[in-house]
Symmetry: C2
Subunit: 437 residues, 2 copies
């Protein structure tokens, strides 16, 4: 049996922020102190917690609390853990920490997706570690597998449900048939949506995560601004019902794909939008506040990672895992992986990205209608995979699912069809993912 080795000099940790996640980090550092010492090879000592209102944090020993985050970073600390969120002051504080050679563990997806490059450069210049497993998909070990386990493979696709709030809303709409507005109100009352749900429902949160995932998967710097983003506010009960009828479910997906163009040149597409996926797809069964991410790589094939994507304890678990890694690097020497952006692939605009559409129409029920609609698809070079027409009195319901085509061509097709006199209403338009094209 290996023996407990005498522990070295403590690793001194500063915590920035003490909300839901920070409180759990403090608790776990305290409760698991002995285990952490054994795993790191030295005690992990929390030496300060920077907060805005010290009198609001009775759960933290008073002598650890400070309002001076910059001063705390400047003091004798080895590792800075940031769970404040948002761009400033987190950006300035973490740059100061990294420039001073202190390792950083952060859960800040927005900061990484906007200023990741700057942070990595500061880390590289000083040789400090920058870890951020908690920034995407909470407790699910996802970034470390992408960054390390699959480092010898060629990742072709990452597709996942990475926002719990929108997944809760879409799951509930699917279950009840209720409208988006009603369901959002219920989610807010239950605490699954924030008072201002914009970051979640408009896809900003998922887009930041998609940027981080794409950067790691494709060794290319991708920022939030590169990500095509559509939220769920325009998903209607009719969309959800149309999906059900075809054995599909509507999910807000973050999709990162490696694409090869006609000349053999490579590019990536990174996007967040609602899409229909077959109910038999593993992601279709991911309900409520859970997250799941599908990864496809040339040699590894298909992989899936599933778990709780948010919440204090799950996110703190990811933070602590990173903290053990960077603390261990301090104790035994060495560094974790740096930024790997050598591939430097271009990000393809959404219009040029190949996608598939599901279009559900109310049309006049008379001869020649299908021919008119089909002609518009043909005109735009969009090939049709599935057609279902069903008469009901004067009207008919017409559902078309396309093969893969350029998103811009699909968009133009739908615009033109909406203007046809025989089309009474465009009931639902949604992209289709997760099946053979």
């Amino acid at each position: 049996m290996s023996e407990r080795k005498p522990a070295g000099r403590p690793v001194r940790v500063a915590l920035l922020g003490c909300g839901t996640v920070g409180t759990e980090v403090v608790r776990l550092l305290h409760e698991q102190a002995d285990d952490l010492t054994a795993r790191v090879g030295a005690p992990v000592e929390l030496v300060g917690v920077a907060v805005r209102r010290p009198n609001k944090h009775r759960e933290v020993p008073a002598e650890l609390l400070t309002t001076d985050a910059a001063g705390l970073i400047d003091s004798d600390v080895d590792v800075v853990v940031e769970v404040i969120g948002g761009i400033e002051p987190a950006r300035t504080l973490l740059l100061a920490a990294l420039r001073a050679g202190k390792s950083v563990v952060t859960a800040n997806k927005a900061l990484l997706a906007e200023h990741g490059g700057e942070l990595f450069e500061a880390a590289d210049a000083s040789g400090a570690d920058l870890y951020f497993e908690a920034a995407v998909a909470g407790a699910i070990p996802l970034l470390r597998p992408l960054r390390e386990s699959l480092a010898g493979d060629r990742i072709t696709r990452v597709m996942g449900i990475v926002n719990g709030t929108t997944n809760f809303i879409l799951s509930a709409m699917d279950g009840t048939g209720a409208s988006y507005a009603e369901t959002l109100e219920e989610a807010t009352q239950l605490g699954y949506a924030e008072a201002d749900p914009t970051a979640d429902v408009d896809g900003f949160d998922a887009a930041a995560k998609a940027a981080i995932l794409a950067s790691l998967a494709f060794h290319t710097r991708v920022t939030a601004a590169d990500v095509h983003r559509e939220g769920i506010a325009s998903v209607t009960a009719a969309d959800v019902a149309a999906a059900r009828e075809l054995g599909r479910a509507v999910k807000l997906l973050a999709i990162c794909e490696r694409e090869v163009d006609e000349t053999g040149g490579e590019a990536v597409s990174v996007r967040v939008h609602p899409a229909m996926i077959p109910r038999s797809h593993p992601l279709a069964g991911v309900n409520g506040a859970f997250n799941a991410v599908f990864v496809e790589a040339e040699a590894a094939g298909q992989l899936m990672f599933y778990g709780q994507g948010a919440g204090g304890a799950p996110t703190a678990s990811a933070v602590l895992g990173d903290l053990v890694a960077v603390a261990r690097n301090r104790v035994v020497g060495g560094r974790g992986p740096r930024e790997s952006a050598y591939a430097d692939l271009s990000v393809r605009p959404m219009g040029q990205t190949p996608t598939r559409y599901h279009v559900s129409l109310d049309v006049a029920d008379r001869s020649g209608v299908l021919a008119q609609v089909a002609a518009v698809f043909a005109e735009h070079d969009v090939s049709i995979a599935v057609v279902r027409q069903q008469g009901r009195g004067e009207d008919a319901s017409l559902v078309v699912v396309t093969h893969s085509a350029q998103d811009s061509a699909l968009q133009s097709t739908v615009d033109k069809i909406a203007g046809l006199p025989v089309v009474r209403e465009v009931v639902s338009v949604m992209r289709v993912e997760g099946e053979e094209s």
Copy 2:
């Protein structure tokens, strides 16, 4: 953008073995040479491949082939990749490599499960890396998450399907209703089972993986001999049918649990056996040759990892991921995680492990039978969760599912019930997992 830095001295790699996995490793090293150089920070150069019969490996450049594995290790190489499998000569060769300070990447579960301690000690003594992601669940990143991502959490349970052959057979039995013998024969013809299927169907392969998983999850040295092992050869069509009737599926599970006894003392149970799980459980949907592992940790909650558990390319993907990590450690300095066995928990015998049983009986259809059977359960202090009795002429079918009790008590209960004159036949006895006890 980060720039390609000038690459350092090549990392020199020796490959031991060149079967299905080794051939894929050679191919990937060649095809992805530029990417690997960028990711490692230096070229990764394959300098030799040790095989038994060099004339059988036309896919490898002849000048790389040698029959002298020990000489190859002894030459100027930095990393040794072992995909021979089995105990000897792999053990002797890897010990020599580690003692000489060469990093080792291995896919050898049997060797790690039996002699892991010895290998880790050699690695620690020389400061070499020992990585083995490919040893469990093929391409699924599982060991790195357990070893690193969850290093700040307390893992309570690991439960998974880690053998593709047995999962293929059980999935097929569930689909067709056929017997074990018929299905094994079909699996052999299709190439899903080896000519000698013992290692798979008797659970040796899964037990080795369970030992490795338990060691990492509980920071305790667990060997294959510590694992309670039952294979699938005794699973009958009646067992599978009984499971179906109750909305369950039969799976061969590897289960590693942290347990707290009456005195608050901790121990672990590590076991491999067939069990019924509810069809709604995520593992129930894992069919064919796929693997999936469920991990529960105190802060992270439930996580699931899913993917291809075997095959040349998937396993090679895991080997290459490890190779990038150890090569990078060579280039930038530093070491990966060492063995962490400080917790040194005892492994509880199967008899003392709490489990639940499903028992399906053919009994005489007359009054008092249920009372007699129930009395035997009560006598052994086993509490009953579900009873279903259904008459059919002179006989009746009686199904009992118990609450959680000590496995030895459950075993004795079944033995005694089998001897009751009113019991015509014990149709099926199987443990139940994956639901509240």
